[in-house]
């Protein structure tokens, strides 16, 4: 049944966006760079990323009010603490970032639809996109991120006898 699952179209409410803006951005940035560093050399090949060395990136999750700044160097990804101009900024909503990760949406499709914006050095953006597209991912099941599924898993965790 879940095979036909489609990520619903959702936008995080504006009130939460404003809250997100005021929260410290370091924890989510740390989570992101840690994940990326774990994948480096395993799922994400290092060699094609050489062009990224010394470059500064910003990811803006528009509806979550998050701005994640990080850079890439010889030793991998690390968070950035200053707001100086990045080489590449990628902006989209939470839902669309998830859909991209799940390979449910094509970035060009989102771009045509004005839901994904890549500002700065477009060639870096193409490299990132094409490198990610070339990776053979284990099946990422977007259905596991649906509200019902999350609720179900939360319930199961709170009430172990409910069991999975």
């Amino acid at each position: 049944m879940l095979n036909n699952f489609r990520l619903p179209d959702f936008t995080i409410p504006a009130a939460l966006t404003r809250l997100g803006n005021r929260l410290p951005q370091l924890p989510p940035t740390l989570a992101l760079v840690t994940t990326l560093n774990l994948a480096l050399g395993r799922m994400i090949p290092r060699e094609p990323l050489e062009m990224l060395i010394g470059k500064r990136f910003t990811i803006r999750v528009l509806d979550a009010g998050m701005t994640l700044r990080f850079s890439y160097g010889e030793r991998g990804f690390r968070p950035l603490f200053d707001a100086s101009k990045p080489d590449l900024t990628i902006s989209a909503r939470t839902r669309d970032f998830i859909a991209l990760l799940a390979r449910e949406e094509d970035p060009d499709t989102l771009f045509f639809d004005r839901r994904l914006l890549m500002e700065g050095d477009t060639d870096l953006g193409l490299l990132v996109k094409n490198t990610l597209d070339g990776i053979e991912l284990p099946r990422f099941d977007a259905a596991r991120l649906s509200p019902q599924e999350l609720l179900h898993r939360l319930r199961a965790r709170l009430n172990p006898s409910h069991g999975i």
Partner: protein, 335 residues
């Protein structure tokens, strides 16, 4: 009746190739990671290891792999192109898609068993040209430029022993395939020799209060207002000021979609339908391959009553460039 219509799907990398195979492509077309093909974008395409894996994956499942070597070599880089032909032959691809006659001659002489397809970049629009390539280089299939009406396609099919492949879906060039100088004029890089129209290094997008602006080598080529659908950053699809009016002076961003012409394409004996988009992600390849497989199978069962479903059209419109889909030249009454 002739052999069933083949569905030819694009792959810019291994995951795209696999998903095309899994969702019903009969052939997947690919390119090496260099200027020997017309989608030479940063990070795209196959290195030796991935193309070998791709060929093995496809062949195990009865699907053919084609390699596009469809750019034009120059005297100083000739050897890079011939090396690419040698490599494709050594890896056991099912055909190479060529545009340059010199390279065809090289392939014919050195790899007589290698099947040759004439690329759309070769710009052969009439059967005399196609038959010439057939007689001299043994071309077995030709991809028609997107400029012919249905009656003209039929005329070509009737007068050549060469299999005919047509574009069925995807982005449109301004229809001077293999001859466009617009990208070279603005960026110094051309699709014909360097394999990239509007290379990433020349493209800049910026969100401004007036809308999203696209610049090509610093030149503003379009500005999209809020909610307006965007297109690729190519000069042919820019908006320009002509006689005090700003509009799409060359071509509007639009996608070709010939789904409704399927029964006709089958009837006139077209051999294969090509889906554009090696630069796109695996998600696109999955969505488009699935729809076209379903449509071709449905049409083969009952061509008389074939009508594209709303769901197919919605799926294809969603992934299209620009705000409209067009039947292109196929549907024009004039020739």
């Amino acid at each position: 009746m002739s052999a069933p219509l083949e569905l030819v799907c694009p792959a810019g990398g291994l995951p795209a190739l696999k998903t095309a195979v899994d969702h019903g492509a009969n052939c997947v077309y690919t390119g090496f990671r260099d200027a020997t093909n017309a989608r030479n974008f940063t990070g795209l395409n196959f290195d030796d290891a991935s193309i070998k894996q791709g060929i093995a994956y496809a062949h195990q499942r009865g699907v053919k792999v084609l390699v596009a070597l469809n750019t034009f070599p120059l005297t100083d880089n000739w050897l890079q192109w011939t090396a690419a032909v040698d490599k494709a032959a050594a890896f056991g691809v099912d055909a190479v898609i060529l545009a340059d006659p010199g390279l065809m001659e090289y392939a014919r002489r050195n790899h007589p068993k290698l099947r040759l397809h004439l690329s759309v970049q070769g710009s052969a629009t009439n059967y005399e040209a196609i038959n010439f390539y057939h007689q001299h280089f043994g071309i077995q299939r030709a991809v028609l430029p997107r400029v012919l009406s249905m009656a003209q396609v039929e005329h070509v099919v009737k007068n050549t022993p060469v299999e005919i492949e047509v574009f069925g879906f995807g982005g449109l060039c301004v229809m001077v395939e293999g001859r466009c100088a617009l990208s070279a004029y603005t960026t110094g890089t051309s699709p014909n020799c360097q394999g990239a129209c509007s290379p990433g290094k020349a493209v800049r997008y910026e969100e401004t209060p007036a809308g999203m602006e696209t610049r090509l080598n610093g030149i503003l080529i379009d500005r999209f207002g809020q909610g307006e659908r965007a297109g690729y950053p190519t000069l042919c699809k820019g908006r320009f000021e002509v006689d005090d009016e700003t509009y799409y002076a060359i071509e509007e961003p639009a996608s070709l979609n010939t789904l409704e012409l399927l029964p006709e394409l089958m009837r006139i004996g077209v051999s294969a339908i090509k889906i554009e988009g090696r630069q796109r992600s695996p998600a696109y390849v999955t969505q488009v391959t699935r729809v076209w497989r379903d449509a071709i199978d449905t049409c083969r069962r009952d061509p008389e009553h074939f009508k594209p479903t709303a769901a197919w059209m919605a799926e294809l419109n969603k992934v299209s460039e620009g705000k409209s889909a067009t039947l292109g030249a196929y549907n024009r009454p004039w020739k």
